[in-house]
Symmetry: C2
Subunit: 189 residues, 2 copies
């Protein structure tokens, strides 16, 4: 399992990279305490994060009600990515659900690397491709599937999420009421 951005690049982007090679951008390490807000509503996202340990949640508010867009587990990149790309204020909030360790790439350093580095562009392209696929699958689910089918699929495809995330948050991720999820869980078991 990758334990740093460099290891991630070696495993998934370019296995020619060596542990002694420089990355095309600087990174920094940071420890984040549980319940810290990494990116707040209305702020322009300055960072792309790589999660070394812990769990992170991305959510929105509507009329005081929370909707969860995504959970992130170790060895993956996360960011308020629409804000990172568009330089518009974030309409989502990123919160550490547990104590976390992260490796950080600053927006300016990433843009600088994108100008000249094949590797940086490959990394950005391939990570974005994976998130595009995930978002498209979620779009298809909302268009095509019942809440029961969407929960069943979560059990099949992302069991670590169902095991590690509290039920009330899973309901917010599926876009349904906690009572509905309770009923679905009884039906299935």
């Amino acid at each position: 399992m990758p334990s740093s951005i460099k290891q991630f690049i070696h495993d998934y982007i370019d296995n020619g990279i060596d542990i002694n090679d420089d990355l095309p951008f600087p990174t920094s390490l940071k420890s984040i305490a549980k319940h810290t807000i990494l990116t707040d509503y209305g702020h322009v996202e300055q960072n792309a994060y790589f999660l070394l340990s812990g769990i992170v949640k991305i959510s929105m508010q509507r009329d005081g009600e929370e909707r969860i867009l995504e959970f992130f587990f170790p060895n993956s990149f996360f960011s308020s990515y629409t804000s990172f790309l568009s330089r518009l204020p974030s309409d989502v909030e990123i919160e550490a659900l547990t104590d976390c360790e992260v490796e950080i790439i600053h927006y300016n350093d990433m843009q600088q690397a994108y100008k000249t580095s094949l590797l940086a562009n490959r990394l950005g392209r391939m990570v974005t491709e994976q998130y595009y696929i995930r978002k498209t699958n979620r779009e298809k689910d909302f268009l095509m599937k019942t809440a029961t089918e969407r929960y069943q699929e979560l059990l099949d495809i992302r069991p670590e999420l169902v095991q590690q995330i509290p039920v009330h948050m899973i309901a917010k991720y599926l876009g349904i009421k906690p009572e509905s999820l309770s009923r679905i869980r009884k039906e299935i078991s």
Copy 2:
């Protein structure tokens, strides 16, 4: 307005590219008759298309009922992109809603270019970033907005879509019944 992939790259990716420069991959031109299926269910997507003229629709079926994921207008790339990236059979269908002119990049040529070309990776990254943003906005809409709000947003942000696409297809794109959309349109006007 861009009228070819080269012009698109000049306008949005790298304005250093000259009309006499070679692209990092070969492309071919094709005329497509109205109602042609460009990519069928169950086939692995072999092409990335750039739409020169016409309108294209991407859709899925569920229990014989159609759901529309996206419409494409000239000067944009389209593909059964999840299948193109994953090499899994397409779960969507691409249909020409009108006669179309397209410029085509073959999967193998794109992958070859990705190995060595900074420009190809920049293009792939930046186009995928834009589609990621679009998919994420759609996800937020499904989680947060009523059908009326989603139709209103379509009027505000993509008026060309509302003007050029028949009402029954817009309903399928919003994931609602045509009767519901009729009611919404009466409420708004």
